[in-house]
Subunit: 182 residues, 2 copies
DNA sequence: GTCTATACACGGATAGAC
DNA sequence: GTCTATCCGTGTATAGAC
């Protein structure tokens, strides 16, 4: 009925939404299947395991983030734009994806080491791009700044997902920018 | 053989260590029991459920954090001490406990609402004390600052636990202080 | 491709002996 | 208090029909 790629993508979307909210191990294949509107068995037509779905999500998200970060670096080099806007866009991208990938999270998910090793480079490159972009915006100690920024955005997305009261996106990004700018 | 309170405490310690590293739902009662050196069944002599162990850990950690925060607030009001030192001490306390409790984490653990409601006040008070302490140190927008600080320390502890390369505690606390101080 | 049925392992929890 | 044995629900994954 659906194109093969469509279904795959639906599954990835459903799983992404559930993993990001409840965490990898608390999410069952049944829940993913139900969200897609098929049965659990059908998932295994597209993916050989739950871990493989997780790996695909991570690869997909990291690819998008990496592309985005590369673009931000380019923007920063060519024009002079406010840091707050860059952070605001970063939060938007992360909210759209609904999930912020950090190596700790992957380690906590207890994903098979071989899969983990495969995604490490993408993770490292995304972080490197973020660091360079911050440096380009004149942020001091960009390594540590990137660390703080990633964790702040990670927590922001999570809290929004769980309906926990938190500052507006605009307020939050301006605050973070003000921390790094001074 | 052991005093009743001792065993209870051993169980709490083992569970704390495992929950904080692998997360609540990825940790099994068997693992906790093995770490203590008893069987799973024996755990149920002391605790009626896995959730109850979790609740006890949270209560214990929050009590310590709350006391510590109250002390920091007092210190700050009476003497004038560097912010970096306060942050450094906070990280030490969190590393010692091995776990930083945030409401998102409790929500993600999918703990029974009734238990969750019980710990909410302690969570709120700890955060309030942190906010006041930061304000006392002259930190602007202390609400947002507390948010960023908690998440940074949370991530720091987690990364240390998983052996992920990160700045030294001293460097990290000084950096965070420098962000808030300016 | 999607389903029903099922195999199989794991995890939480209890029963009852010692 | 701690154990062995066991119950039972859930979860991943597979077999095989349609």
């Amino acid at each position: 009925m659906k194109g093969k790629t469509d279904r795959r993508q639906e599954i990835v979307q459903a799983a992404k939404s559930l993993f990001s909210k409840k965490g990898y191990s608390s999410t069952s294949m049944d829940e993913i299947a139900e969200k897609v509107g098929i049965t659990k068995a059908s998932l295994y037509y597209f993916f050989e395991s739950k871990e493989r779905i997780f790996a695909e999500i991570i690869e997909e998200v990291l690819a998008e983030i990496r592309n985005y970060m590369a673009m931000e670096l380019k923007i920063c080099k060519e024009h002079s734009r406010p840091l707050a806007e860059m952070i605001d866009r970063t939060i938007s991208i992360c909210l759209k994806n609904g999930i912020v990938i950090r190596s700790v999270d992957v380690k906590m998910a207890d994903i098979h080491p071989i899969i983990f090793e495969k995604i490490l480079p993408a993770l490292a490159e995304a972080k490197k791009n973020l660091r360079q972009t911050l440096a380009c915006h004149g942020v001091a100690q960009s390594e540590l700044a990137a660390e703080v920024l990633v964790n702040s955005v990670h927590a922001y997305v999570l809290q929004r997902k769980h309906g926990i009261k938190i500052a507006s996106q605009k307020e939050y990004s301006q605050y973070l920018a003000s921390l790094f700018a001074k």
